[in-house]
Amino acid sequence: MSLNLFRRTKQLEQQIDNFFDILSESSVVYRLAVRIYLREGINQEFKERLERINTLESEADALRRSIEKQLYSDTLIPDSRGDVLGLIETVDQLFSQFEGSLWSLSIEQPNITKEYTDGFRKLTNMVVKAADELALSARAFFRSPYDVPAHNHKVMLYEKEADAISTKLKTAIFASDLELAEKLHLREFVEQIDGVADLAEDVADRLAIYAIKRLV
């Protein structure tokens, strides 16, 4: 019974680690895809990245279901089960945000002119940093909850920085001579990309509470 318990536990531990590996990989692929779009528009490489993001999102979904099922069927971590499920559900929204944002680029193909590419690139870099730091924070929650506040602090900093970049970018867009429709279209994409950092901050806020609960 004990050996079986430890084997299943090891498998579940790996699945949780894989789930957050997917988060790290998704943020890298997302960053590369946006940079390709800003540089060359829709091309084969962008399509490959989009396909990869779709695959990662599906893998994350499958892992999420499997983790949820095991946590309930084996009645594991009764004290923290709700928190872990809440964490995984909200991180799952980040995968959807990555995927949705790239699909929108692919379908709507906004015209991002040269004077804004630098701002979009900076914004993308910053939100990806927030997502990466969130992945570290989530891993810390499972192994050393004492380290969660330090990672969360960085997530907040990156989110704040992303907000500043997005505000600057939107101000520049609306101060330009572009058509209103184009301005609104670009603003939509600024907000979509910035949404990644906002979501990362939401998850970090939850993590902060979950970590405190583990430490009490």
Binding site: L5, T9, L12, E13, I16, F142, R143
Partner: protein
């Protein structure tokens, strides 16, 4: 064998059943209540180790109870155990936490008073002092263990899921140790008063001969195990809600502290080791399993800022500690009077 003997023994067996039904929750209650361990697993481990503890290490505490009052007549022993059982039953019905150890001590003093036998003040003082020492010691051990756990958990980075598996495994090991200690320490409450009368004839099974005392230990252990199997589930499912909820790790520490304390007050080996090293020995006295757990929980709660303690519940528990022995003493005194004067049975 005279069937009347079984009738007289029934009160002790009933007390054993009540002990198993209630005190198994102190060992496995939180583990089962939080679904960390299945009830069936807990019940089997609990029953096996209670019987083992009673058979292997039950002698020490029984000897101490015998010194408090050597009840030689079977009807007297019957009424003493029945009074303790009735006190336990009525206190449980009133929703007050109760200790079989205190009930049986109160009942024995009731017998002493009725029969005019002197109560050994030294033994009584020893027993009374353990009622205070037991929860305090349990709290102290729990605080040390909890601090050690905090210290190590900061340094050892185990994945939460793996830590959960280790906690489950540790709850089972600690539960087995707790059940063994419970059997060793509390068997005296169940059959201790019957031992001086030697009611059972020696039993030969093959090459082995079982004395009356050995048979009583086995019967008492089986009665406790029966209580575990028939009634402990409900108690286990509700335990932990009274004093405040515990995390799985805190529950594990509470169970370990409780088990260590019960073991310390029951182990002849430990007593001999301490004496051999010129250290003060720990009296072998039946202590309350519930008090030990309450002490551990309070210790952990105080360490966490005492925010989780419901002081009104704690007050009720302390009141129960006073009321139980007094009630058992009174019931026993009047019960013996009734038995002697109405049924004409010799109670001393």
């Amino acid at each position: 064998m005279d069937p009347l003997i079984l009738i007289f023994l029934s009160s002790g067996l009933f007390l054993g059943w009540a002990l198993g039904a209630n005190d198994a929750a102190n060992v496995f209650g939180t583990a089962v209540g939080t679904k960390m361990v299945r009830w069936r697993t807990a019940a089997i481990i609990c029953a096996v180790f209670i019987i083992l503890g009673a058979l292997v290490s039950g002698g020490g505490t029984t000897h101490t109870l015998g010194k408090l009052g050597a009840i030689s007549a079977l009807p007297g022993a019957f009424m003493t155990a029945l009074s303790a059982a009735l006190a336990v039953y009525s206190m449980t019905k009133s929703g007050l936490p109760v200790s079989t150890s205190q009930a049986i001590v109160g009942a024995i003093i009731g017998w002493n008073l009725f029969s005019g036998s002197p109560t050994d003040v030294n033994t009584l003082t020893k027993i009374l002092s353990t009622w205070i020492i037991c929860p305090v010691l349990s709290a102290f051990i729990a605080v040390i263990l909890f601090k050690m756990h905090k210290f190590t958990s900061k340094r050892i980075r185990i994945h939460m899921i793996m830590a959960d598996a280790y906690t489950r495994f540790a709850l089972i090991i600690a539960g087995a140790f707790g059940a063994y200690s419970l059997g060793a320490n509390n068997i005296a409450n169940v059959i201790g008063v019957f031992i001086p009368g030697e009611p059972l004839p020696a039993l030969q099974v093959g090459a082995f001969v079982f004395s009356s005392t050995q048979q009583l230990f086995l019967l008492g252990g089986l009665a406790i195990a029966l209580g575990v199997f028939t009634y402990s589930k409900r108690v286990m499912m509700t335990v932990g809600d009274n004093l405040g909820r515990l995390s799985a790790n805190a529950a594990l520490i509470a169970v370990i502290s409780h088990s260590i304390v019960l073991f310390m007050f029951a182990s002849r080996g430990l007593e001999a080791w301490l004496a051999g090293h010129g250290l003060p020995t720990i009296p072998l006295v039946p202590v309350s399993s519930s008090q030990a757990v309450v002490g551990a929980v309070v210790g952990i709660s105080v360490l966490q800022g005492a925010a989780g303690i419901r002081w009104s519940v704690l007050g009720k528990i302390v009141m129960g500690w006073v009321v139980t022995p007094v009630a058992a003493c009174a019931i026993c005194f009047f019960g013996l009077f009734f038995l002697q004067n109405v049924f004409g049975l010799a109670v001393q």
